[in-house]
Symmetry: none
Amino acid sequence: MILIDYKDSRPIYEQIFDKLRLLILNGALKADEKMPSVRTMAMELSINPNTIQRSYSELERQGYIYTVKGRGNFVSDIGKLREEYRKEIFNRLDEVCASAGNAGITGEELIEHIRGGGKQ
Amino acid sequence: MILIDYKDSRPIYEQIFDKLRLLILNGALKADEKMPSVRTMAMELSINPNTIQRSYSELERQGYIYTVKGRGNFVSDIGKLREEYRKEIFNRLDEVCASAGNAGITGEELIEHIRGGGKQ
Amino acid sequence: MILIDYKDSRPIYEQIFDKLRLLILNGALKADEKMPSVRTMAMELSINPNTIQRSYSELERQGYIYTVKGRGNFVSDIGKLREEYRKEIFNRLDEVCASAGNAGITGEELIEHIRGGGKQ
Amino acid sequence: MILIDYKDSRPIYEQIFDKLRLLILNGALKADEKMPSVRTMAMELSINPNTIQRSYSELERQGYIYTVKGRGNFVSDIGKLREEYRKEIFNRLDEVCASAGNAGITGEELIEHIRGGGKQ
DNA sequence: GTGGTCTAGACCACA
DNA sequence: GTGGTCTAGACCACA
């Protein structure tokens, strides 16, 4: 379900955070569904529980999951968060556009690339 | 000429690398032009020379500048590099598109955002 | 009668404790009235009986209820406790005043806020 | 400068966070001033560096300090944050008022308590 | 030297 | 069993 890329420069806790967040935004993990326990996931991925804990804490801090002490972590009912994620993506798009401008790439070229389905 | 943002989470050597690379890609720094010496730039920016050296090494490794022992660093004649930089940007665009897909954003929405000039 | 907020960070036993204490201080639960049994309440709230037990133990420890073996839990005749609860509140108020002082908020501002009915 | 209360139920990292935040809000630590290094503070307080690190991370996340890799942590120029802290305090005051209402304490009593300087 | 990440292992509160 | 906190110790990137 989750694969860790040790060659990725991003820290492990962040990779896990990103993938879980995506599963929640996707709807693959639904509201009030129980997440795998910190220890279970740590065992499955052969990773220290502290590291998983950190991913979960960050998910909780940003409102993607909520914690019930002694019971586990559960998926939140996200609503506003979808909107925030959309903004995050448009911001990243803006950055790409800015870099493109510096490299002499026009907006039309970017659009053509998107239309072509990327990675042509 | 170069401003460092200490509140930026990116390391200093990377900020400097990015800005110098941009000046070269821009044509602001032209082929065979001499770069400021490591020490000069370190003084001007009040930064550890090791840090400047690291930016320069990375620029050299990627082919943006070349070093002549005892004489200094000079801007390369970049040709292929422009093309590589373009690829890098299209790759970043592909990543944004992939994330967008996961969030239910269509290519048309991205295109509309680009057309609108972003940051509306 | 009692609603548990699983998204509240406070532990469940504490939420139940707080709400029952309030019902007693309110007078909604009167002296010598019988409390619902641990099992009944556990069933109604779909909660582990151990958790309810813990809330009841804490209520008993602080004198809000008393236990008769084999018969159940009963509301105490609270008198001093009202006074203690008042002290607790004034202590919390003192803490707020102290924090306010550190933030440069004057007592008059706090008073004005109270007069204004708060949450304006 | 900072004392840890091991009898306090709040975790150590939170106590340190609170105290440092206060020193910043106070102006005792000024904008762009260097914070003690994680290790130095860990030694002084005889606490594990990871714990200090956690306090610093939280301070950074909330914008009270900023980190320059390889150099250290520095106090941010807080502005909005003062306003947020004020709000936090008024929220806490609102909670006290609500509890007071439940205990039959009037707003006037609270005001009188504040006027009297508390802890009378 | 400075912060960032991770592991191993422990102990605690809570259910 | 479940998450939360902490210590001890290691290794890395950065300056």
